[in-house]
């Protein structure tokens, strides 16, 4: 379930320092999110598509990741053009579709896809271990980094436990449906997961004490300085800054 499908590549982006990729994606994501101009939004989408291509990812897998977004976009495309106030573009049976509503839908669609693409290209292309390392080096508190790494570590363990519990329930004739019995069964399964998680936490904590845990976390990964890192970061920041400035001037005109 938690497969790091994109993390093991040989592209130029995979070789970049996680810290640089995290900073670059934050800068570029916010610049895109704050953009309110259709044409500039399209430039951001070109940048994100370019990054996806640079990362050499499987296109089908990348598009599959947009599935959760698709439902939201579908909803706003149904609601917004009908409810947004503005110049009427088209009218039928008392419904009216507004130009502004349609433009907003297009903008949201382009922006949201761009932000997800660049997240996929820059962040999903690293292992969670590297992500933890990068977060540590941009001074995210130790406890927070540890939470991310530890939570990730035990997801697959707990998922296995869930599968075993569900299989056992199904062997005893459990057939999920829309009824109170099914909801109760799932509630007990979820409850059991929390119980096992808590008991496991006690054992993990004991194991840490046995190995001399003294309330300090250490990271090992080293990333040798690489000129590509700073060039890439300057490129991304430069592009974002010029697009933001361009939008400010554009609005002035």
């Amino acid at each position: 379930m938690v497969e790091e499908n994109f993390a093991y590549g040989r592209s130029f982006i995979h070789k970049l320092d996680p810290k640089i990729r995290i900073i670059a994606s934050i800068v570029l994501s916010f610049a895109t999110a704050l953009c309110d101009n259709l044409y500039l939004a399209m430039i951001y989408s070109f940048i994100s598509i370019f990054l996806i291509l640079m990362a050499g990812l499987n296109t089908i897998d990348v598009v599959k990741r947009l599935k959760p977004l698709f439902w939201f976009l579908l909803m706003i495309w149904i609601i917004l053009p009908l409810t947004f106030e503005g110049d009427i573009l088209y009218r039928f049976y008392g419904f009216k579709i507004t130009g502004q509503g349609v433009v907003l839908c297009i903008k949201i669609t382009i922006k949201s896809i761009s932000i997800l693409f660049l997240f996929t290209a820059l962040i999903a292309t690293m292992t969670v271990a590297s992500l933890g390392n990068g977060l540590h080096r941009i001074h995210v508190p130790d406890k927070m980094v540890f939470l991310v790494l530890m939570t990730y570590r035990y997801i697959s363990v707990i998922e296995q436990e869930y599968k075993r519990l569900l299989r056992a329930a199904k062997f005893r004739g459990f057939n999920p449906g829309t009824n109170l019995h099914s909801y109760k069964t799932f509630a007990y399964l979820a409850g059991m997961l929390f119980v096992r998680a808590s008991l496991r936490a006690q054992r993990v904590h004991q194991a840490m004490l046995c190995r001399g845990f003294n309330q300090k976390f250490h990271t090992l990964d080293d990333y040798p300085p690489n000129r590509l890192n700073s060039i890439f970061l300057m490129g991304i920041c430069g592009a974002s800054a010029s697009l933001v400035i361009l939008e400010m001037i554009w609005v002035e005109i």
Binding site: E4, V128, M150, Q206, R211, G212, F213, H218, L220
Partner: protein, 243 residues
Amino acid sequence: MIDNDSVIKLEDISFSYTGSDIQVLDHLNLEINKKDRIGLIAPNGSGKTTLLHTIMGLCKPDSGTIKVFGKILNNEKDFLQVRSKVGLLFQDSDDQLFCPTVLEDVAFGPLNLGFSRTEAIDIAEKTLKRLGIQLFEHSVTHKLSGGQKRLVALASVLAMEPEVLLLDEPTAGLDNKVKKKLIHILNSLDISYFVISHEFDFANAVTDKIYSMENGRILRDDEIHIHHHEHVHQHGKHPHIHK
């Protein structure tokens, strides 16, 4: 009198879980000396894991004394000092390996002992090599197989260079190949260890003495007669004790 050979000595240890009348450990005595290789075979629920956790100071006994290297351990601070010298291999390796990568996991102990990063990495790499699993160094821990995880967990304990090793069901869930490897590794160690197992053949292959546990007490080999023969009752398949 200081007994130089004694590594771990439990005297009159009693333990019961809060809210329970059952004495998990009942005036238990146990001594592990230098170069001792002891096996403990006992049924599930007889308090074996509790025994190991008591030695490590993870369970506080209701009464009795715990001596490690001749020193009586009373509080968390005392236990903290001996934990680096007494290595405990947990029954479930997933409990023990919590770092993202194998190398980080094995280096965790040495880093806690105050070694520098390069020293810790060096120790970790050497330990992995010693166990023949250096290829996993950069693997993501949770993607390893059960057998690989057990060996990495053992490496993470050995990396702290303990003077005595406690192993809690080290063969649970392992196939024969990994079991053989484990037997080979244990037999090549020159430190004393105490193995809990329910597999007679395994315990026999890696230890010199086999104890048993009953009603919260340890039975020494002169008190027990573990044997292996078929019975009409189903316990005949397993080594067991006749009184």
